[in-house]
């Protein structure tokens, strides 16, 4: 039930709703739980609301860190 969908923001409306895209599927979500979103940002969508931003740079950094961990542990 806590299913989240990492969607890309296409446009933000004046009422605070945003049009998002995930794998070609587009729909409108609320953004009042997240700060300063703009087109191009990624957000985690749950039950019609963006509940948090997806920080792509950190996601990539974690993968890089695991490359080192894998070398050390295997």
């Amino acid at each position: 039930m806590c299913l989240g969908i990492p969607a890309k923001i296409l446009e933000v409306n004046v009422d605070g709703s945003a049009l998002v895209d995930y794998m070609g599927v587009r729909w409108r979500v609320g953004t009042s739980l997240v700060e300063h979103v703009a087109p191009g940002d990624y957000v985690m969508v749950h039950a019609g609301e963006a509940i948090e931003r997806v920080d792509l740079a950190t996601g990539k950094e974690v993968l890089r860190m695991w490359e080192d961990i894998l070398k050390a542990w295997t």
Binding site: M1, C2, L3, G4, P6, K8, G30, S32, L33, V34, E35, G40, D41, Y42, M44, H46, A47, G48, E49, I51, E52, R53, V54, D55, L56, A57, T58, G59, K60, E61, V62, L63, W66, I69, L70, W73, T74
Partner: protein, 374 residues
């Protein structure tokens, strides 16, 4: 944000079979050292239905069979909803003029004697919605109907439901109320890790609950109970990284509460969402399937917003509810037995004719074990 990094590429990277294969190998190697320390196969529990589903469907359980045993704890909101709360939802649906709106998962969950789906067949009005906001829109379009939304779910869902109350208030929609059955994750984990007679060596913490609460609120697991715990996302690479790290902590005897889902989960979580929860709800003792009443483990609508509380508006009689004695969902949720240990599993209890909620929900432990056969 993220500069030149493309989101789709990152999603693909977390699904990369090559990386997953190396992580599987790492988990097998780490599990041997962990098993040596423990004198048996390490047991890791997830407390999120989406993790349960990924562990089964991505083949993690099968690929690590004999190295790691995965169990599912109280992480599927549908599964931990007590029979009494389902009975209450059914009572609401029977009130003339009321339409109960709910996420689809709740429809088939059996209460003491019936489910919302069975009640629909008897004429009760129940409507499946994809978001609380669409339930508010339905109420706005049908002013002659009393729309009751079933507020089921953990910290992830509670702020979204709180926003629906804010929306109904600001749009002056008088016929929208919430039956608030929300539950909180830290209190149940505090009970779970202290359970006598349960073998548990590490916890996969639920990424989307943690996106709201933050990682730090779970530090007590390592500090007070020495339980290795890792916040994990929902791609196969996320789950495997967390598994490797838990096994490493067991092997090194260095329990921590770590976070491999930093792209979404921050130390103290989402303050805006936490503020919204605090504005509309307050903690209350709550009944969990399998665990009974846990102090301050649920949410109740605050006095100031009582007119949006379905319990206040309709004051239904509290049902005299009982769990089916032949269903052992409670023992599964507490980590005491595997789904296949239950005598009803796969015989009198199947996804087509489920006895209990763990076989109903796609994210339930019994349904995942039944579907993927492991």
């Amino acid at each position: 944000m993220g500069g030149h990094i493309k989101g789709v590429d990152l999603i693909d990277a977390y699904r990369d079979p090559g990386l997953a294969s190396r992580l599987f190998e790492c988990a097998r190697m780490r599990s041997l050292t962990a098993a040596e320390r423990l004198g048996r196969v390490p047991v890791i529990m997830d407390v999120c239905g989406t993790h349960t589903a990924v562990i089964s469907s991505a083949g993690v359980r099968t690929a690590l069979s004999g190295y790691v045993e995965f169990r599912s704890g109280p992480g599927c909101p549908v599964c931990v909803t007590s029979a009494g709360d389902v009975d209450l939802a059914v009572q609401m649906a029977r009130i003339p003029g009321v339409c109960v709106t709910t996420f689809g998962d709740m429809m088939r969950v059996p209460g003491s004697s019936t489910s919302l789906q069975e009640e629909t067949a008897q004429g009760a009005r129940v409507k499946v919605v994809s978001s609380p906001s669409s339930a508010v829109a339905y109420a706005s379009a049908h002013p002659d109907v009393e729309v009751v939304f079933l507020g089921v779910g953990f910290e992830t869902t509670a702020p979204v439901v709180a926003l629906s109350i804010a929306e109904a208030k600001s749009k002056r929609i008088p016929n929208y109320t919430v039956l608030c059955l929300h539950k909180l994750m830290p209190p149940v984990l505090d009970v779970l890790v202290r359970e006598p007679g349960v073998t548990l060596d590490g916890l996969l913490l639920p990424g989307h609950v943690c996106s709201i609460t933050g990682r730090a609120v779970f530090d007590f697991l390592a500090r007070e109970y020495r339980m290795p715990s890792v916040v994990a996302g929902f791609e196969v690479v996320d789950v495997l990284m967390a598994t490797c790290w838990i096994l490493h902590m067991i092997a090194e005897r260095s329990p921590k509460v770590a976070n491999v889902y930093r792209r979404v989960v921050r130390e103290t979580g989402n303050q805006k969402a936490k503020d919204v929860i605090d504005k509309y709800f307050r903690p209350i003792d709550s009944a969990w399937r399998g665990f009974g009443l846990i102090p301050r483990s649920g949410l109740q609508i605050k006095e100031k917003y009582l007119r949006f509380d379905a319990m206040h508006r309709f004051t239904p009689d509290l049902p005299d509810s009982t769990d089916k004695p032949e269903c052992h969902c409670g023992d599964v949720l507490r980590g005491r037995i595997r789904p296949s240990d239950c005598t009803a599993f796969g015989t009198v209890c199947t996804p087509v004719k489920p006895l209990g909620p763990c076989m109903v929900s796609q994210e339930g432990a019994c349904a995942a074990h039944f579907r993927y056969g492991a």
